[in-house]
C-alpha cells in the first residue's frame, strides 16, 4: 500500500553535545563522590547536609530552565520571523525544568523530614515552589492542546511570559515572609557566604554539572521536537504522493 517512507530519524547528537554530555557526567560524578565521601558532615545537620548538593543545584537549574523558556517565548513573540526554533527551545526547556523542579521538591521533602521533622509544611517557600511546579505542568498541558505549531507557540508563549514572573516571588519568599525554610546561603541578601570551603566548592560544581546536563537535555529534546514537526509537515506530502501512486497503478 504505502510505498513512500517518512524521513528516517538519525541521531540527535553532535560533537558539541557529546562534549558537554561528557562534561556533565564528569561534574556530576564529582558531586556524587565529593558530596558523599569528601565533604564533611555539618556541625548541626550531620550527614543530612549532603542532600543540599542535589537540592540547591536542581532548584537553580529549574529556575534557569524556566527563564530560558520565558526568554525563548519572548523571542518567538517579538521576532519578525516567528522562528519555530524558539518555540521548541521554550518547550524543551520547560520539560527539563519541570523534571528538575520535581527533583527539588522530592529532595527538599526528604531533607525537611530529617532536619525540620516533617516532609512538608505550607510555608511560603515550599508553597510558592509547589505552585511554580504546577504552573509549568499547566504550561506543558497548554502546549499539548492541539492546533498548528504556530497556534501552539502563540498561546504557550503568553503562558510562559506570565509564569516566569513567579520566579522572583519564589526566590524572595524567604525574605518577604517569615519562613521555616532557611534564607539563601550563596545569594544571601548581605552577600556573606557562610559555608565551609569544600562544601561551597561541591555545591557550585553541582550547579555547573546540572546546568550542563540541562543544556545537553534541552539541545537533544528540541532536536527531537524539530524532527516531529518536520515529520508532521511532511506527512501530508507523503499521503499525496501515495494517492498519486495508487491512482496511477
Amino acid at each position: 500500500m504505502t510505498t513512500t517512507e517518512l524521513p528516517a530519524i538519525k541521531g540527535v547528537g553532535t560533537q558539541a553535545t557529546r562534549l558537554y554530555g561528557v562534561l556533565a557526567l564528569v561534574a556530576l560524578g564529582w558531586v556524587f563522590v565529593g558530596g558523599l565521601f569528601f565533604t564533611p558532615e555539618d556541625v548541626v545537620q550531620g550527614d543530612a547536609v549532603r542532600i543540599m548538593y542535589v537540592h540547591v543545584p536542581t532548584a537553580w537549574t529549574a529556575y534557569l530552565a524556566f527563564i530560558v523558556t520565558g526568554v525563548a517565548s519572548a523571542c518567538w513573540l517579538l521576532g519578525k520571523k516567528h522562528s519555530m526554533g524558539f518555540d521548541r527551545v521554550a518547550g524543551a526547556s520547560a520539560e527539563v525544568g519541570v523534571a528538575f523542579m520535581a527533583l527539588t521538591l522530592i529532595s527538599g521533602s526528604l531533607w525537611g523530614r530529617i532536619t525540620w521533622g516533617t516532609f512538608w509544611v505550607w510555608d511560603p517557600r515550599l508553597t510558592t515552589t509547589a505552585f511554580l511546579f504546577v504552573t509549568y505542568l499547566g504550561y506543558l498541558a497548554v502546549r499539548g492542546l492541539g492546533g498548528s505549531p504556530q497556534q501552539r507557540a502563540r498561546r504557550s508563549s503568553v503562558v510562559a511570559l506570565l509564569a516566569v514572573l513567579e520566579i522572583p516571588l519564589v526566590h524572595f519568599s524567604v525574605v518577604l515572609w517569615r519562613s521555616l525554610h532557611q534564607e539563601a546561603s550563596v545569594l544571601s541578601p548581605d552577600g556573606d557566604i557562610k559555608m565551609d570551603g569544600i562544601m561551597l566548592f561541591t555545591l557550585l560544581f553541582g550547579v555547573f554539572g546540572f546546568s550542563v546536563l540541562f543544556a545537553w537535555l534541552v539541545s537533544h529534546r528540541q532536536r527531537i521536537m524539530a524532527m516531529h514537526d518536520a515529520q508532521r509537515a511532511s506527512a501530508l506530502e507523503v499521503a499525496m504522493v501515495d494517492r498519486l501512486q495508487e491512482a496511477s497503478s
Binding site: 555539618d42 550531620g46 543540599m52 525540620w116 509544611v121 508553597t127 504546577v134 499539548g144 546561603s185
Partner: protein, 162 residues
C-alpha cells in the same frame, strides 16, 4: 483526485480520533493543574491562620494575642530540655524574652539546644502548649570537626533566628 481521509474497518477516521484523544488527555491535565493550584493556595491560606510570632512579640504585637492559636519562633535555651512521661519541655528565647514550652512527644528532626524552632499551639497560663514542633536550621554550614566543636563550646547559642 480523492483526498478524503482514510478510514478504519468501522468507518471511523483514524488520525483525527487519535488526535482528539491526545487533546482530551491534555485538557484533563489542565483541569488537574487548576485544581492542584487551588488546593495549594487554599492550604497555604489555611495554615496562615496561625499567626507567626517571635517569642518577644507574644501578647505585644497585633495578631499575637495570648488567647489565640499561634506559631511561636525562638531559640531553644541551653540546658532547658527535659523529657518525662513522653512529654518534652524546653524554653524558647528571642530578644531576651523567654517562654516555656511543653510538647506531647518527641519533637523529631534535629531538635537540640540552641537551635531555632517553631512551636504551634496555644498559651495556657505561662506555658505554651505545643502540638507541633518544626525545627529551623540556619543558612550557615560548618564542617563538624574537632576545632569547630571547641569553637561552638565557647559560643554555644550563637545562632539567631530572623
Amino acid at each position: 483526485m480523492d483526498l478524503t481521509p482514510r478510514t478504519s474497518s468501522d468507518n471511523a477516521p483514524l488520525a483525527p480520533r487519535t488526535k482528539a484523544k491526545k487533546k482530551w488527555r491534555y485538557v484533563a491535565m489542565l483541569v488537574v493543574v487548576v485544581f492542584a493550584g487551588g488546593f495549594i493556595v487554599s492550604q497555604f491560606l489555611t495554615s496562615a491562620i496561625d499567626f507567626y510570632c517571635n517569642v518577644d512579640e507574644v501578647g505585644v504585637r497585633v495578631g499575637c494575642e495570648e488567647d489565640r492559636r499561634l506559631r511561636v519562633q525562638g531559640n531553644v535555651v541551653e540546658g532547658s530540655i527535659s523529657e518525662s512521661a513522653n512529654k518534652t519541655t524546653f524554653s524558647l528565647v528571642f530578644n531576651n524574652k523567654t517562654i516555656d514550652v511543653i510538647y506531647d512527644g518527641d519533637p523529631g528532626g534535629i531538635f537540640q539546644e540552641c537551635i531555632p524552632v517553631v512551636a504551634h499551639g496555644r498559651l495556657q497560663g505561662d506555658t505554651f502548649e505545643a502540638n507541633r514542633i518544626e525545627v529551623r536550621h540556619s543558612n550557615e554550614y560548618e564542617a563538624a570537626n574537632a576545632d569547630r566543636i571547641s569553637e561552638s563550646e565557647v559560643a554555644p547559642c550563637s545562632q539567631q533566628v530572623g
